[in-house]
Amino acid sequence: MDIFLFLLFAIIAVVAAINVVVQTHPISSAVSLIGVMGSLAVLYLLLGAEFLAAAQVIVYAGAIMVLFVFVIMLLNAGAEAKRGRSLMVQLLGVPLLVALLGLLAYFVQRLFPQGVTVHFGGFTGGTAEAVGRALFTSYVLPFEVTSLLILIAIIGAIVLARKELD
């Protein structure tokens, strides 16, 4: 059951991620990205990160992607213009990327012994209680710094998006 769920949502995530890259219209890319984030939320649940799965759906698939779709519609962004690339880029780009990915996968398989496996319920420390306890004890300084960062981001976004007064 675990392996079935993992494979199902991993395949959905990879197909949607490929769709993000190959679609020419930004709205199609955005919807595919929501698919990636949704299936990643299920994988987080399988890894025992229930709080982060909820946060993934609410913050990423909810807030951030709504912002993206809103901006795409505001700018009326159409399909991206085709552009001729040099022959070397066309011939080398994808094989080099596949080579990078293959090397990465090879080293991951080498470094992590097959004995370590993931099963649902194997780690129950990802509840909202556990995350909150750690967040407000050992990680309280990063938490406060993050709140400052968000304040700066709010002010920056307002300053950037305001209408000129003159």
């Binding site: 991620a17 990423y60 993931v118 099963h119 709010i154």
Partner: protein, 102 residues
């Protein structure tokens, strides 16, 4: 109940990250480039949570949480910048936004 090797999760994370890099490098629309960055951040989050499972500690979850918060702030500011660029130049193609080059 069959169990999933932990390396599969990390390989999935690597695949998603590579696709994010591909989108970042190949695409010409500034919004899609931005979405590729979000894809890479998600891939890294999956790695964090997988390692958190492996070591049976909650710390990885907190790092993923901070990445999420920073991504939200980054999306707000980045999209405001994109709005400004579109207002000033009326284009979303990153090849045409090259005034710092000359």
């Amino acid at each position: 109940m069959t169990e999933v090797p932990i390396s599969w999760y990390l390989t999935l994370s690597a695949i998603l990250f590579a696709l994010g890099v591909a989108g970042f490098l190949f695409r010409r629309s500034i919004i899609t480039v931005f979405m590729s960055i979000e894809l890479m951040l998600n891939a890294v989050n999956l790695s964090f949570i997988t390692f958190s499972y492996q070591f049976k500690q909650v710390n990885g979850h907190l790092f993923a949480f901070f990445v999420m918060v920073v991504a939200a702030a980054e999306a707000a500011v980045g999209l405001a910048i994109i709005l400004n660029i579109f207002k000033n130049r009326a284009t979303l193609n990153i090849d045409e936004i090259d005034s710092m080059k000359n």
